[in-house]
C-alpha cells in the first residue's frame, strides 16, 4: 500500500455523500443498458429455427427495410422515443446532481489526500497486485463537473436534434456509455483502469462517429478515429510497461511517489512522460495524430460537441495533469509537450482560416485550442491548462450546439423543398441572424469568449496560459534545460509568439464564420429561406445556459491583476493539493510571479491582438461577395492548400497506409506465405515425390529392348563393382 494513501475509512470524505462515488459511473451504465435493450427490442426480430431453410420473403422484412431508408427523413418517431428521452438525459441529470453533492461535500472538507475507494481485486497476478480503485480528488472533481454538467446540457439538446432519427434509442445508449467510460477515465485510480476508460471513450467515439453507418464515409471516419486513437493507446501501453518494469507499480499515487525518487530529467522519467504524451496526441488530436478529429465531424453534431470538443479530446490534458508527478521530473518531455502544443495550435489555426464547412472550422479551432491547453500543462502551469479546458468546454460546446441548431434549421429548410444541397457549408448560409436571433446572439458571446475579448471566459484562461509561459521563460527548470539543442528559454519565447499568432488567427476565423453564417445576404435560396426558423426551445435552452457559463466562466480563476471582479485564483487554490507540488517543482520552488508592469503589458497585448483580429476580419471579409457552394469557383494557390488541409491525409495515406496494405498483400501473404512456405516447402515437396514417381514410370515402356538394356546395365554395374573392389 502506498504510504501517502491513508486508509480508506479514515478519509474525511468517507463519511459524506462522496462514499457513493462508485454510483457516478454506474448511473450512465444503467442508462446504457436500458437504452440498449430498448434499441434492440425496437429493431431486432429473431429468425426462424432453421436459418438456411426459408429465405425471408421481401415484404415480411418490409418494415425492417423501411426504417433503413434515409436517416434524416421524417420517419415515424421511434416507438420507444418518449421513454428514451426520459432515461437518457434523466440519468445524466441524476449523475450531475450526485456530482454537485459530492462537489459541495468536497468543498467543506480539507482535501490533503485523494479519496481512494477500492471496488474489487482486478488483476492479482504475481507482484502486479492490481485493484479496481476509484480516486476522487479536486482535479477529477473538476473534470466530473464538466463532464456531467456539459454532458447533461448536450443530452437535453440531443432530445431535440435527434428527435426524428430512427436510431434514437441506440444514439442515447451510446451517449450514456460514453459518459460512463469518461467517468471511469477520470476516476481511474490506477493507470490500467484509466486505460479502460481511455479505450472505452475511443470505442464510443467510433460508434457515434459512424452512427449513420449506412454511408461509407461515416463508417470510414469512425474506423479512422478508432485506429488513430489505438496508435496513441500503443504509446500509453508502453508507458505502463515502463512504469511497471521500472517503478514496480501502476497505481496513480504509487507512480507519483516513486517518480519523485527518480533523478530529475532522468531517462526513465522522460521516456514514461514521452510515451504518455504519445497517447495524449492520439486521444487529444495533436500533431501528428490529429487527422481523425476533422473527419469525426461525420457524426451527429451533439456528439461533436460532447466528445470532440468538451470531454474526450481533453482526456489527454487531464492525463498530463494527472501524471504531473512524472512530467515535472522530465523538463525535456515538458518542453516537447509545449512545443507540439504550440505548433499544433498554430498549424490548425491556419487551416481553420479557409474551411467552408462550419463544423470543420470548429473542429480545427478545437485542435488549435487543445494545442493551447497542452502549452499550458506542458510548461507546468497545470491550473492554467485545466482552467482553459473548462472554459473551452463551455464556449466550444456552445459553438458546436449553435452550429447544430443552424444545421438543424438548414436541414429542415432543404428537406421542405427536397433540395439535396450541403446543409453544413457556410457558402449556402448567410443572413441567418434575422431567422435565428437567439442562436445569433449566443454564438457571438462564444466567439468573443474564444477570441479573448476581456471579461469573457476565454480571455482569462488564454491570458493565464500566455503569462505563465512568459514567466517560465525566465525562471524555471524548463528555461535551464533544452530541447534538440534549442535552449529552453528561447523556445518558450517562441512558443509565446506562436500563442499570440494563434490568438490572432482564432479571432479572424471565428469572426469569418460568424460573418458568413449570420451576416450579409442569405444564400440558401429563395424557396428555402422562409423555412429557416429558430430551433425549438429544447435546443436553445442549453444554449442559453452555456452562453451564461461562457460569459462568466472567467470568474472561476480571476488573476490577481483584476482582483476586483471576484475571488482571486479560485481554481488555483482548488487544484493546489493535486498539482501544487509539481507546479512548484518546475518553477524552482517559489511560485512564478511577474512584476506588475510586465503583467499589465502582457494583458494589454492580448487584448489588442483580439480586437485587431476581429476588426481585420470585419474589414477584409465581404460576406456579400460570397456565392452559394454549387457555383463557387475552385480555390487556387495557397487557399487551395489550406482548404485541402495541406494534403496531410493524402500524405499519410500514400506514405503509411497504402504501402503497408500493399506490402502485406503482395510480399507477406502472396509472396512469402503462399509463395515460399506453401509453394516451396509444402507443395514443393509434394511435387518432388510425384516427380520421382514419374521418372520411375518412364522405364516401363513395354518394349523388350528397354528391358534388355536395363538388364545389361545392371549386370555391367554389378561386375564393375567387383572389378573395382
Amino acid at each position: 500500500m502506498n504510504p501517502a494513501m491513508i486508509p480508506e475509512g479514515a478519509h474525511p470524505l468517507a463519511s459524506t455523500i462522496a462514499r457513493f462515488v462508485w454510483l457516478l459511473p454506474l448511473l450512465p451504465l444503467l442508462g446504457f443498458l436500458i437504452n440498449g435493450t430498448l434499441a434492440m427490442l425496437g429493431v431486432a426480430k429473431v429468425g426462424p429455427a432453421d436459418p438456411s431453410a426459408g429465405h425471408g420473403h421481401a415484404e415480411e422484412h418490409g418494415h425492417g427495410a423501411a426504417h433503413g431508408h434515409d436517416d434524416h427523413g421524417h420517419a415515424t418517431r421511434h416507438k420507444f422515443a418518449p421513454i428514451v428521452s426520459l432515461v437518457g438525459p434523466g440519468v445524466l441529470v441524476a449523475t450531475f446532481l450526485l456530482a454537485s453533492g459530492i462537489f459541495f461535500a468536497m468543498r467543506g472538507v480539507e482535501m490533503e489526500h485523494p479519496y481512494i475507494q477500492t471496488l474489487f481485486a482486478w488483476m492479482p497476478v504475481g507482484d502486479l497486485q492490481l485493484n479496481a480503485t476509484l480516486l476522487l480528488d479536486p482535479l477529477s472533481m473538476v473534470m466530473i463537473m464538466v463532464i456531467t454538467g456539459v454532458g447533461m446540457l448536450i443530452h437535453v439538446f440531443s432530445v431535440g436534434y435527434m428527435q426524428d432519427d430512427p436510431g434514437y434509442p441506440r444514439y442515447f445508449a451510446y451517449l450514456n456509455l460514453f459518459v460512463f467510460f469518461m467517468l471511469m477515465l477520470v476516476l481511474g485510480g490506477s493507470y490500467p483502469l484509466l486505460f479502460v476508460g481511455w479505450e472505452g471513450v475511443g470505442l464510443c467515439s467510433y460508434l457515434l462517429i459512424g452512427f449513420w453507418f449506412s454511408d461509407k464515409a461515416n463508417a470510414d471516419a469512425g474506423k479512422k478515429a478508432f485506429i488513430v486513437n489505438r496508435i496513441g493507446d500503443f504509446g500509453f501501453l508502453v508507458a505502463m510497461f515502463l512504469m511497471f518494469a521500472n517503478l514496480g507499480t501502476l497505481d496513480v499515487q504509487g507512480v507519483a511517489a516513486k517518480a519523485a525518487e527518480l533523478p530529475m530529467g532522468g531517462v526513465i522519467a522522460t521516456a514514461i512522460a514521452l510515451f504518455l504524451f504519445l497517447g495524449c496526441t492520439g486521444k487529444s488530436a495533436q500533431i501528428p495524430l490529429y487527422v481523425w478529429l476533422p473527419d469525426a465531424m461525420a457524426g451527429p453534431t451533439p456528439v461533436s460537441a460532447l466528445i470532440h470538443a468538451a470531454t474526450m479530446v481533453t482526456a489527454g490534458v487531464y492525463l498530463v495533469a494527472r501524471a504531473s508527478g512524472i512530467f515535472s521530473m522530465a523538463p525535456v518531455a515538458q518542453l516537447t509537450v509545449a512545443t507540439v502544443g504550440a505548433l499544433t495550435a498554430f498549424f490548425a489555426a491556419t487551416i481553420g482560416l479557409k474551411q467552408w464547412d462550419i463544423k470543420k472550422v470548429l473542429a480545427y479551432s478545437t485542435v488549435s485550442q487543445l494545442g493551447y491547453m497542452f502549452v499550458g500543462v506542458g510548461v507546468g502551469a497545470y491550473t492554467a491548462g485545466i482552467f482553459h479546458l473548462v472554459t473551452h468546454a463551455f464556449f466550444k460546446a456552445l459553438l458546436f450546439l449553435g452550429s447544430g441548431s443552424v444545421i438543424f434549421a438548414m436541414h429542415a429548410a432543404y428537406h421542405a423543398t427536397h433540395n439535396h444541397d450541403d446543409a453544413q457549408d457556410m457558402r449556402n448560409m448567410g443572413g441567418l441572424k434575422k431567422h435565428m436571433p437567439v442562436t445569433f446572439y449566443l454564438m457571438w458571446i462564444a466567439t468573443l469568449a474564444i477570441a479573448g475579448i476581456p471579461l469573457f471566459s476565454g480571455f482569462f484562461s488564454k491570458d493565464e496560459i500566455l503569462s505563465s509561459v512568459f514567466a517560465r521563460a525566465h525562471h524555471s527548470t524548463l528555461a535551464e534545460s533544452s530541447l534538440l539543442g534549442i535552449p529552453g528559454g528561447t523556445l518558450l519565447l517562441v512558443i509565446y509568439g506562436l500563442g499570440l499568432a494563434t490568438a490572432l488567427m482564432t479571432a479572424i476565423y471565428m469572426t469569418r464564420m460568424m460573418l458568413y453564417t449570420f451576416h450579409g445576404p442569405n444564400r440558401t435560396g429563395a424557396a428555402e429561406e422562409p423555412h429557416l426558423k429558430e430551433a425549438p426551445w429544447v435546443m436553445t435552452g442549453p444554449l442559453v445556459v452555456l452562453g451564461a457559463l461562457a460569459a462568466f466562466g472567467g470568474w472561476l480563476n480571476v488573476p490577481a491583476l483584476l482582483g476586483a471582479i471576484g475571488p482571486v485564483g479560485g481554481l488555483e487554490h482548488w487544484l493546489e493539493p493535486v498539482v501544487g507540488e509539481a507546479t512548484l517543482r518546475t518553477t524552482l520552488g517559489e511560485p512564478a510571479h511577474l512584476s506588475h508592469s510586465v503583467e499589465l503589458m502582457l494583458v494589454s497585448t492580448a487584448i489588442i491582438i483580439a480586437v485587431v483580429g476581429i476588426a481585420f476580419a470585419v474589414w477584409r471579409l465581404k460576406p456579400a461577395a460570397l456565392v452559394p457552394k454549387k457555383d463557387a469557383p475552385e480555390a487556387t494557390g495557397f487557399d487551395r492548400v489550406l482548404e485541402n488541409k495541406y494534403y496531410v491525409d493524402e500524405g499519410y495515406d500514400a506514405a503509411i497506409v497504402q504501402p503497408t496494405v500493399n506490402v502485406s498483400r503482395a510480399v507477406l501473404w502472396k509472396g512469402f506465405d503462399a509463395g515460399i512456405i506453401d509453394g516451396l516447402f509444402v507443395n514443393g515437396s509434394a511435387l518432388l515425390a510425384r516427380a520421382f514417381g514419374w521418372m520411375g514410370s518412364q522405364l516401363q515402356t513395354g518394349q523388350l529392348g528397354t528391358y534388355a538394356w536395363v538388364l545389361l546395365i545392371g549386370v555391367i554395374t554389378l561386375l564393375g563393382a567387383f572389378t573395382f573392389r
Binding site: V46, H67, G68, M123, V125, F213, S214, L237, A245
Partner: protein, 527 residues
C-alpha cells in the same frame, strides 16, 4: 460444494470417466446408427443430434466439479489415477491435473456442446459419423491435457488427429481434401520427431531406473541429460508443438484447415486444438528440458519467431478477402502472444499466456460460430459479398461487434487482460519483443474493424443480403454464454487467475532454478 464432491470421492474417478464417456458415446452413436438404419434420414438425423448433444452436456456438467474439487495451491497432481497399461514397456495409464490443465479441460468440455449446437442445422450428411468423430476428438483432447505418461500423451496426441482429419476431409468445403491432408502431414511429421524423443527419454529412464519407464514424474526427477542432447530433444518436442501452436514458419496449414473445416470443426480447431501446442510447451518442453529452454540463443529464437508470428499474422490477416482466413491468421497472431508469454518466463507473462489461451478460445470460437451462422444463410465467406447487413440482422451485428472488440483486446473484455498481462510480464525480460508485439494492438484494430465495417456497415447494396434472416433463439442461446465469459474474464478475472497462479509460479521458478544449475544436480523438487 467441496463436501459433496469429496463425499462422492469425486477426484478419484472423474478423469477416467471424462475420458471414457465420449468413447462410450461414440459407441452409442454407432449402435444408434445400426438400430435405426431403416428409419427415414430426417428422423435419424434429429435423433442422433440430440443423443450426441446430451453426451456432451453430461460431460460438461460432470467436469464442472473440477472447479471446486481441485485445490490449485497444493503441489503435485490432483485427481491422479495411475494404472499399469503395458507393463513390458513400462507404460502406465497415468492421468492427473494441475491448475493449468484443469482450466484447459474445462475450456474443452464447455466448448464442445457449444460447437455441436453451432453446427445443429448445417451438418446433414452422415451425421452419425460426424458426431462420433467429435466424441473421439474430445477423448483425444482431454487425454492430452491429463496425460502424465509420455506414451499415453503421444497416443492421445495421435487420437486427436484422425477425427479432425475426417471432419475436415469429409464435411469440409471445396478444397477440403487438400486442407485435410496438409493438416495431417504437417502435424504428423512434427509428432514423429517427438515420438523419437519420447523413446529416447524412455530408454534413458530405463538405464537410470532399471525397468523401462515413461512416467512423466519419474523422467522429470531422475533423467539428467547433457546439454547437447537436451537441446536436441527440446528441438524435437518444440517442433511438434510449434506446428500445433502454430508458430511462424509452420502455420500455413491453419488458414486452409480453418477455411475448409465445417463450423464445429473450425470452432474446436481454434478454441481447443491450437492450445495443444502451447500446453505442450508448458507441460513438456519447458519442465523436461529447462536447460534448453533457458539457453539464450534458443530463447531468443523462439521469442523472435513468436514476435514475427504476432506481427506477420496480423499484417497478413489485414489483407485477406476471406473472413474465415482472416480470423485464422488472427489466431496465429494471438497464439504468438501466448508463446511470447510462455518464453518470457515471468509469473505475470505466464499467467497472461494462460489467460490469452482461454480468452482466444472464447473469442475466436465465438467468431467462428458467427461466421458459420452467416455462412449457413449466404453460403459465402467473402467479405465483399456482404455489406450493410446491420439493418437486416441487428442481433448478429451487435454480437459480431462485441466479439470482434474482445478479439481486438478492448479493455473491459477478456482479450485485453490476456494481452496486457503478457506484455507487462514479458517487458521485464524481453523489452524489445514486448514493444514490437504491442504494435499489433494497432494492426489488430485495423484488420478486424475494417472487416467488420465491410460486413455490417456501409450501404446495403446486394439484394441477397436484404432477405437474410436474423439469428434464431438457438444461435442466440449459443452465443450468450460466450459473451458472458468475455465480460466475466474482462472485468473480474480474479477467480480464473487464482486457479492457475500457483502452477504458473511453480513452473517459472522450477525452470529458472533447474536451468540455472548444471542439469546433473537439478533439485528434484516436486512438480
Amino acid at each position: 460444494m467441496n463436501a459433496f464432491l469429496s463425499s462422492i470421492n469425486y477426484n478419484a474417478w472423474i478423469v477416467p470417466v471424462l475420458l471414457l464417456l465420449p468413447a462410450i458415446g461414440a459407441v452409442g452413436l454407432w449402435a444408434h446408427a445400426l438400430l435405426t438404419a431403416k428409419d427415414p434420414a430426417e428422423k435419424r438425423w434429429r435423433e442422433v443430434r440430440v443423443l450426441a448433444f446430451s453426451f456432451f452436456v453430461v460431460e460438461a456438467i460432470l467436469s464442472l466439479g473440477l472447479w471446486w474439487s481441485l485445490d490449485p495451491a497444493a503441489a503435485g497432481w490432483q485427481a491422479m489415477v495411475d494404472l499399469p497399461w503395458i507393463p513390458q514397456w513400462g507404460v502406465r495409464f497415468a492421468v492427473g491435473l494441475d491448475g493449468i490443465a484443469m482450466v484447459l479441460v474445462l475450456l474443452t468440455t464447455l466448448m464442445m456442446p457449444l460447437a455441436v449446437l453451432g453446427s445443429w442445422t448445417s451438418i446433414r450428411t452422415k451425421p452419425h459419423a460426424y458426431y462420433a468423430n467429435l466424441l473421439i476428438l474430445t477423448v483425444g483432447m482431454l487425454g492430452v491435457f491429463c496425460a502424465l505418461d509420455l506414451v499415453l500423451f503421444y497416443v492421445m496426441w495421435e487420437i486427436m488427429l484422425v477425427p479432425m482429419y475426417l471432419i475436415i476431409g469429409v464435411w469440409g468445403g471445396e478444397r477440403r481434401l487438400y486442407a485435410a491432408i496438409k493438416f495431417f502431414i504437417y502435424t504428423m511429421i512434427g509428432s514423429l520427431l517427438m515420438l523419437v524423443a519420447i523413446l529416447y527419454l524412455g530408454a534413458e529412464a530405463s538405464r537410470v531406473g532399471g525397468a523401462p519407464n515413461f512416467s512423466y514424474d519419474f523422467i522429470l526427477n531422475n533423467v539428467h541429460l547433457d546439454p547437447t542432447t537436451t537441446l536436441w530433444l527440446f528441438g524435437a518436442f518444440a517442433l511438434a508443438f510449434a506446428v500445433k501452436v502454430p508458430m511462424f514458419p509452420f502455420h500455413t496449414w491453419l488458414p486452409d484447415a480453418h477455411v475448409e473445416a465445417p463450423t464445429a470443426g473450425s470452432v474446436i480447431l481454434a478454441a481447443i486444438m491450437l492450445k495443444m501446442g502451447t500446453f505442450g510447451f508448458i507441460r513438456f518442453a519447458l519442465p523436461l528440458f529447462p536447460g534448453a529452454a533457458m539457453n539464450p540463443s534458443v530463447r531468443t529464437l523462439i521469442v523472435a519467431l513468436a514476435v514475427i508470428g504476432i506481427v506477420y499474422g496480423a499484417l497478413v490477416a489485414m489483407v485477406q478477402p476471406d473472413f474465415k482466413k482472416l480470423v485464422a491468421y488472427s489466431s496465429v497472431s494471438h497464439l504468438g502472444f501466448v508463446m511470447l508469454g510462455v518464453f518470457a518466463l515471468t509469473t505475470e507473462s505466464m499467467q497472461g499466456a494462460l489467460i490469452v489461451n482461454v480468452s482466444h478460445g472464447v473469442s475466436t470460437g465465438a467468431l467462428f460460430l458467427l461466421i458459420g451462422m452467416i455462412y449457413e444463410r449466404r453460403h459465402t465467406r467473402m467479405i465483399e459479398d456482404y455489406g450493410g447487413i446491420a439493418k437486416v440482422v441487428p442481433i448478429f451485428a451487435t454480437l459480431l461487434t462485441i466479439v470482434s472488440l474482445s478479439s481486438i483486446g478492448l479493455p473491459g473484455t477478456n482479450g485485453f487482460i490476456g494481452e496486457f498481462l503478457v506484455l507487462v510480464g514479458s517487458y521485464k525480460t524481453q523489452p524489445v519483443a514486448a514493444v514490437i508485439s504491442a504494435t499489433v494492438v494497432i494492426i489488430a484494430a485495423v484488420y478486424l474493424l475494417w472487416a467488420v465495417q465491410r460486413i455490417i456497415y456501409q450501404k446495403l447494396a446486394k439484394p441477397e443480403n436484404e432477405s437474410m434472416q436474423d439469428l434464431n433463439w438457438r444461435e442466440i442461446g449459443l452465443l450468450v454464454p460466450l459473451v458472458a465469459a468475455i465480460f466475466w474474464i474482462g472485468i473480474y478475472p480474479k477467480p480464473l487467475l487464482e486457479k492457475t497462479e500457483p502452477a504458473a509460479r511453480r513452473l517459472v521458478t522450477y525452470v529458472e532454478s533447474a536451468a540455472g544449475k548444471a542439469p546433473v544436480t537439478a533439485s528434484n523438487q516436486a512438480r
